[in-house]
Symmetry: D2
Subunit: 368 residues, 4 copies
């Protein structure tokens, strides 16, 4: 791999940078993100003079989180790698191949340079066992910790009743995470029946928002009470209103959560809200300003937790859950392996709302 392929966003600050061959790669939304990589000694590692074999050796299989993070700033030191101060000149937090997240090149390729590789790599303890679960482990870099963070920050615990808004990959991962955290009942709402079917396939209750405009009423049919303990917004600003007349309503999910979460409850909000949305109809929405029924949430003493996930914070424990058969995340998000050539088609399908998570496998590793 030519050295000019290296990410240059903040490269002058990088102490250790490692080229890895991409084993598998996958999409979360607009851009694709890469995930499970190995270090090929044939690649140039000219930057290194010191011994790094205590961190990574030829042939190791590792996971790389989607958050680019330096490991030295105060945020990284307290596990908040999603808001690293050194990887994005515009704002805290960087990511591969993401708008506005530091200009790091995406991983839809055969090889990728990983900056801060001494800090960011998660090495799988047993290569053979890792390969058996590689499709699940591929979910560690982004979608699984994103869903898990949503569930954790919503306060899901043993016996919780949870509403998850959205049955796309983030919503499905959040729903499965809520199950792992012991939720008594997980209810997923979406406009598309195909996605809801996917949610039911692993034990969730569902609400078709195309057919029903009163989420509380539907929750009552399921639980006997019109409220849940907590909620996860896996939709974000691209929300539509409920019911048959579903117009663009960027605060629709937030306002629904205020309605259906019981007093004292929390929301985890992994769904993206943008600071600016030039394509929005509404002048307020253009400025990222939403009409939120804040007084309703306040009167119920609700708490909100927003933002991207610090994937590194969760990746080790989620890896342990996968390796020991406790998490079934690839099936949950309907992981579908494609080749690098098929990527454009994968994107198109994703954009049309297919209930699939496309995983790019540039070296044919998964089909071997």
């Amino acid at each position: 791999m030519p050295e000019e392929n290296v990410n240059m966003g903040s490269s002058s600050k990088i102490l250790l940078q490692i080229s890895v061959a991409v084993t598998s790669i996958w999409s979360v939304g607009v851009p694709l993100h890469h995930q499970v990589w190995y270090w090929d000694m044939k690649l140039p590692v000219k930057l290194l003079k010191q011994d790094v074999t205590w961190i990574i050796k030829k042939g190791d299989i590792v996971s790389v989180p989607f958050n680019v993070a330096c490991g030295r700033c105060k945020m990284c030191q307290r596990q908040d790698t999603h808001i690293c101060l050194n990887v994005n000149p515009e704002r805290p937090g960087g990511a591969y191949g993401y708008v506005d997240m530091g200009g790091w090149v995406g991983g839809q390729s055969e090889y990728v340079m990983v900056p801060y590789a001494d800090f960011q790599l998660l090495k799988f303890p047993d290569k053979e066992k890792a390969m058996e679960k590689i499709l699940d482990l591929t979910m560690l870099s982004d979608i699984f910790p994103t869903g898990y963070h949503g569930a954790i920050s919503a306060g899901v615990t043993t016996g919780s009743t949870v509403y998850v808004a959205g049955a796309g990959p983030v919503g499905l991962a959040a729903a499965h995470s809520a199950q792992l955290l012991g939720a008594a009942v997980v209810i997923v709402g979406d406009l598309k029946e195909e996605r809801l079917k996917q949610a039911r396939s692993f034990g969730c209750e569902t609400i078709n928002l195309q057919e029903h405009d009163d989420v509380g009423e539907q929750i009552e049919e399921i639980l006997g009470v019109p409220e849940v303990d907590c909620a996860i917004d896996a939709v974000g600003f691209e929300a539509y209103g409920h019911g048959t007349d579903h117009e663009d309503a960027p605060a629709a999910v937030l306002n629904t959560m205020m309605d259906v979460v019981e007093a004292g409850g929390k929301y985890g909000i992994p769904g993206l809200y943008v600071t600016e949305d030039p394509g929005a109809k509404d002048k307020d929405a253009k400025q990222g300003s939403l009409k939120v029924r804040f007084g309703l949430g306040w009167s119920k003493a609700h708490s909100f937790s927003t933002g991207q996930t610090p994937a590194m914070k969760y990746q080790r424990q989620l890896m342990m859950a996968i390796l020991n058969g406790k998490a079934d995340i690839a099936n949950v998000v309907n992981a579908t392996v494609i080749s690098l050539d098929e990527a454009p088609e994968g994107y198109a399908d994703f954009d049309s709302g297919a209930a699939k998570k496309f995983v790019i496998d540039p070296h044919g590793t998964l089909s071997k």
Copy 2:
């Protein structure tokens, strides 16, 4: 005291109700709240057949939290007395003399009935020592735990830099609470110089929002950086915009906090946001809907904690701080003792924004 004076809101559910003579009483905002009471055995306690002297005896001095709470529901059992399920037919949470909070009669009188008295009373361990600090202890029922909850839920800890929006009694109590929690710097913003002077009197930095419209710039002058670790909204929906042209802007404080709190920070929001505001100009504001720059907060991974304080959760530890000279809350909020007859005048002063906390002393206890 005639028995018909009893609060009737939910009285059929009350197991123990005790008449107390009002020692002192004080205002938080629109209505006045009562606070430190004692139980006078001359008063009728006909409802009781059992021995309650293990809870309260004649002559004990007690504090009563402003949240009416049953002590038996799941919320009370987990210390969330601010959202008790049994004291307000309209919604979770009750309070004395408050709009929409269960219809409980306010405490601006010589005697008051306390429902759920077996659960709600905080007995001061030493009567004599309590009388020495009675003006500070009066703040335990409402303003001190309200400010403290704001600071706790903003995550204030040793070394924090904190922005407090509003220098009314809630803001001042929040600022002092932040100091008790170890804040390195507390910065208070308000439109009135008289209130800011009060904030400076106990060591806060201040920003006059009438003179400056860029809070971040002012913070930078104080701290060297334009952001704080966390913030407390002690204003609520009655916010004005900053600068000289300060029009009514109900989301002004929320949007400022998103701007000046660093990534990963939290806000505590004790300031009131209403579900409906019939007097608002704006149609959205009438429905309690605010234009919040939610995308900005999301991009910084902020967390929000809203609602009233569960006063009982904090009252014992704050009492210990007062009795041992660690908290100076009466001076902080500029407590000013008045008689029951002077109450209307006190209200008028409060409404005009006086930097005072009026404490009604119906029996002349404080002037003895």
Copy 3:
């Protein structure tokens, strides 16, 4: 039921006392504890003048925690009902039918008086559904929250590896609780093969301590590393040493945990340690003094959490887990229903170490 049957330990302090018919009842160790009760209006409730139907009505099915707790002291107010200050003149904390725990009469009978019933009852939301799961719900008053508290205080979370010392009912409940909290692997150690078989029946790994004296070695065979993330002591002071020569060694479990828990780990210690053990051989053990390899734990920065469980803190969420099919606690502890007459035989079996949890069913409710 004659009124003189009422528990008199601290009865002068009781505001509401309710007679309940015992639906099912069960043993935890030396004494039997009662559990799921209903309120029969034929029983005398003369103490009551007020309306209590908002708390309990004729025919309701409720759970009563084994901790007797007043609901008014500072401990109860912060959910620490296991150390209530008003129910035991000797020390904090009371329990039914337990040595040294306040003299409250045990529940091995047809009817029992519940003190502080207004505070302590957990009402099941749907009577019919409750009866379908009544054997599991019976475990809510003691064994399930005891095991759960052990797992919670050991810090078990998604992906944890956990060692549980002891496969008696507490150990089995702790192991199942660890699974509910997301443990990747749960390893149970015991001296009896029959008990270990029970642990394997719901997916635990096991170590027979009769056959192996190096727990770390056995853990390494299972996990690939000789340490676990955290541990639960479900044995207490009645521990035996490991290996074939298992003499009485009251600190054996504590010392093993220090050995096999990785640095930074926690232990939950629900297993009973006594303040005095007059029957002990050792003079130190008689005084409840153990020889603990404290330096080993210190060098690994371990944390210990001890004591009984505050059952009320957990009962509602565990009830939700049971009612929604997420917890299988009756099977886990091998619940075995017996009549009141068979109780002495049940005790004898329990004392001999049978891998069974006996549930007394005095009214034949469970066999209907």
Copy 4:
């Protein structure tokens, strides 16, 4: 400085190593530890090819924690730098100049090599302001975070009553930390009147253990009740029994804490307990085995938190407290500046129990 002076303990794993000139240095116990250093560009930094000025520049003043920590292992990634897995072949956790902690050379010299300098340095934001508080900032590397960790892990918060065993530097730092966390009353116990006088100098209550053998009785005289909320063991295994007949009694402090901490309380245990003590009289003590009245702690549902402090976790917030005048740690521990030549004398004084904290100043920085 010759390169062979470099610490070699684990140097093959070090990516960035920086030579720093020692500004000040100080003692914690047996060995001396270094603390505030600056990076002098005249020193050889041959290992570096990359730009590190985003981490440290010539002339920066930094703090270095006493815990040597790699920044890449799972422990460092979760802020547990006290149990780093890569800096000590014997066990988790390394330190400079400490027995059994990885063989890293101590800092009692003019220049020191800092391994993992990219991860470990805390840069002071303003050089001039830092020099004004340099004696306080010197305490950031060890004694202040050690005391603070003790107070944090004991659960000290607003209004707590706290017992601190030991008035040596760790105990004094713990007592001051408890004050910063809002303690209502801090009570320090020691055998030496001179040390207790130091504790009283910043507002602590004291108990002379030479004169009194019943700590609970003394606590009752101060508080009115014989128990505190929580306790900090700043003594460790070198404890003496209380009273006039004070023999060596390694579990004396632990047993006292079980006695005087109220039910539900926690202890922070920064005081050192060794895995082996070859010099002990007692055979058990030789093996680091203590006779602990564990049953007493269990019956009160106590929790224990042990081990060294992760200094990096706390250093930034404590720096903020110092720079903004909230912490007075140098005065609290009676910091006394000496030259490098006076170090042997300083050690001798420390060993004799002088109520002083010696700070070595090899370049005369503090006296300029």
